[in-house]
Symmetry: C2
Subunit: 416 residues, 2 copies
């Protein structure tokens, strides 16, 4: 079955706002086997909205509208759908009672204009809203189904889940979906796609989507089937081939972030971690501590942004800083080892580099260093491994890639 | 003049992708006085796209399409617009030559299918693409203007700026725009709106938009006028009233981030900063070092995620930790003072709290502490100020609000 989604609101036509309800709705619709073949945004304009609803209904049997159900003159969705579907609006006392109860519960008087929200299209079912005043509406006629939902995501989502999905399942043939989310660290999107596109392009099912962020790529495999096991077999067939090709570059098949994966590995091994950061300025610690429960394995870290801090807090030697500079393999090694020693942790990790755009780390010695040059050191009882990398891009991108590579080095260290 | 924007691409109808080109285009169009009255996404579907173009042209005199100009069978924009506007596609040798030159420059052979990109609608102007192979197109006829742009933002933006804006300025009456972006720390959106809506709702010009993030609200005032000074007067009239009402809660009128504002103040005063973080786990350092040139005032910081780290690295006293717990005004004060002393900085700042969802900071002593309870201390030569706050929400939201409040406290300290 095909559907279209229509978001209503002049604020969604400004340069600042984007309609995200349609992403949520698309996901839920895809899961039950409904394809979204178009979506649109219209402002708070009765005539334009009426025309948009009329035209959409000639194209698809399912139309979902979000927004424009508030109590003000600007809220034109009820009226416009009424005109487009040739239905009167009928006042329903029970709905007004529910809105009044809601206001009383919050100890606030109900404004007279809220009466507008108690009107329902003739023949439509009102969909209760437990998070706000505007009820939704479900209208089924010979042309198909039209659903009216409130705009705020916190109202739309529970209403769609509770009121609409069960009704839609009655009219859509059952379909099951299994999603496998592979995540890969340290590869360029083009390199990854070149390797795996010969695999996934052979299949219409699962549907493969690749999402790339700096230093992190997600491969989403969404498989459909008449039963859950059938869908799983379809997803696994492609996933196994991709995983075999990418090997240990794949750090999860459940979609978790790299910091979560590393956290789980540290916790499982009873290992602890301490950090010494220069160019990443706390970003690595921030990512690690973004995981709930990270205090079980993360002891702490130093953000040594000056040469003096590196010397005095971590004991990086004068000779290293004068001879090789703060951005050097030697400095990274001393920082990682010092962090490990001072914290008494299983693993110590250090990042030092040039995030740009200016030389920011007092890396004067050892010759000029290019923006994006980063050294990452991982120290444990076996010794200390240092990697050099030249990252490209802006300051934030360089910092993000450096933290990503550091996390990946910890992950690989914990494998061995 | 009214416009609609149509984005083409089946990937834009998945739950993962959102069309952002339209935000850029809307901003540029608004700036020259064009209103966007609708936007839509269609998949790579010839028939649907043809119908969408035909219908949009009956509604508006300016239609902008992005995407679907690639060389493959899936790229249907040229064909669909040709059918909708009743124009043949004409092969242009100069365009093929340019595409071939581009491939040669990258030392790659041109595939035969790229010939498809050398076809232009009869009577349209080809718009050169200096970042990719697909030229854009500009078609003006009795029904209005249709613009075809490539989908990748890195190609679309320079092409629109260089080729389309000058042409549009010829057909749109001149209009100037001035934007003032006020940013406010430490207020809830509803409180702010209640204060300033009596001011801005009296004006259609400037257009006021409020964007809220945790602990940070942006008020955008976009004013239009027949000249730049005229637009500025209009923007200033409203801005001055809002600023007078909000007082020192406004931390910028140029849209900069709070970390940039604090960085500029520190640098202007020749002051330096050191941090001691617990629950924010490096996020405060990360934000401060996200500003290029922050090494001029940021010396470094400690992420002390355990009681042991707080004691051993910063010298927080056993008695404090045992008596009040790590989440306490006393611990925050000792941390801030120790950071300032150890780093030799002008200002020392500490954050300790419960980010949740579990008690994460070893804050056992001093009784159980609720999730979201945060202490922030700012120490300088005058003494040490400690603030207690109870933040609401999820872990990341609590951490973000804590860093925002810490930055705001530094800002206020630097005022006095």
């Amino acid at each position: 079955m095909n559907a279209e989604i229509l978001a209503i609101g002049s604020e969604l036509l400004t340069p600042e706002r984007v309609d995200t309800n349609s992403l949520y709705l698309t996901q839920k619709l895809n899961e039950i086997g409904v394809e979204v073949v178009g979506k649109a945004v219209v402002g708070d304009d009765r005539a334009r909205l009426t025309a948009a609803v009329e035209q959409a209904r000639t194209r698809v049997p399912l139309l979902i509208l979000s927004g424009g159900l508030g109590p003000t003159e600007d809220d034109v969705t009820r009226d416009a759908v009424g005109v487009a579907c040739r239905r009167e609006l009928v006042f329903q006392q029970e709905i007004l009672d529910a809105i009044e109860r809601r206001f009383r519960a919050f100890n606030r008087p109900m404004a007279e204009i809220n009466r507008r929200q108690a009107y329902v299209l003739e023949g439509a079912e009102a969909l209760p809203n437990d998070r706000g005043t505007a009820p939704g509406q479900w209208l089924a006629d010979e042309a198909g189904v039209v659903i009216l939902l409130p705009g705020p995501p916190s109202e739309l989502k529970p209403m769609f889940e509770r009121e609409c999905l069960p009704r839609l399942r009655q009219v859509v043939p059952p379909r099951y979906i299994v999603t496998i989310i592979l995540r890969v660290a340290g590869m360029a999107e083009s390199d990854l796609d070149q390797r795996i596109s010969p695999i996934y392009t052979r299949y219409q099912n699962p549907v493969t989507t690749i999402l790339a962020a700096p230093g992190d790529i997600q491969v989403h495999l969404r498989a459909y089937g008449a039963s859950e096991p059938e869908a799983r077999v379809v997803a696994e067939e492609v996933s196994r081939q991709i995983e075999a090709d990418l090997g240990d570059r794949v750090y999860t098949r459940c979609g978790e972030s790299l910091e979560e994966v590393v956290g789980k590995m540290l916790e499982a091994r009873g290992a602890t971690l301490a950090l010494a950061e220069s160019c990443t300025g706390g970003m690595l610690a921030e990512r690690i501590t973004s995981v709930p429960g990270s205090s079980k394995y993360f002891l702490g870290g130093w953000v040594t942004y000056t040469n003096r801090a590196k010397q005095q807090w971590l004991g990086v030697s004068e000779q290293t800083l004068a001879g090789h500079g703060a951005v050097s393999a030697e400095a990274a090694r001393e920082m990682a080892q010092a962090a490990r020693r001072a914290a008494g942790s299983t693993i110590g990790v250090a990042v030092t580099g040039v995030a740009g755009p200016t030389l920011d780390t007092g890396a004067g010695a050892g010759g000029p260093k290019p923006t994006g040059l980063v050294y990452i050191a991982v120290a444990d009882k076996e010794g200390c491994e240092v990697k050099e990398r030249q990252f490209l891009g802006e300051r934030e991108r360089i910092r993000l890639q450096a933290t990503q590579m550091a996390l990946d080095l910890i992950r690989r260290r914990l494998f061995t």
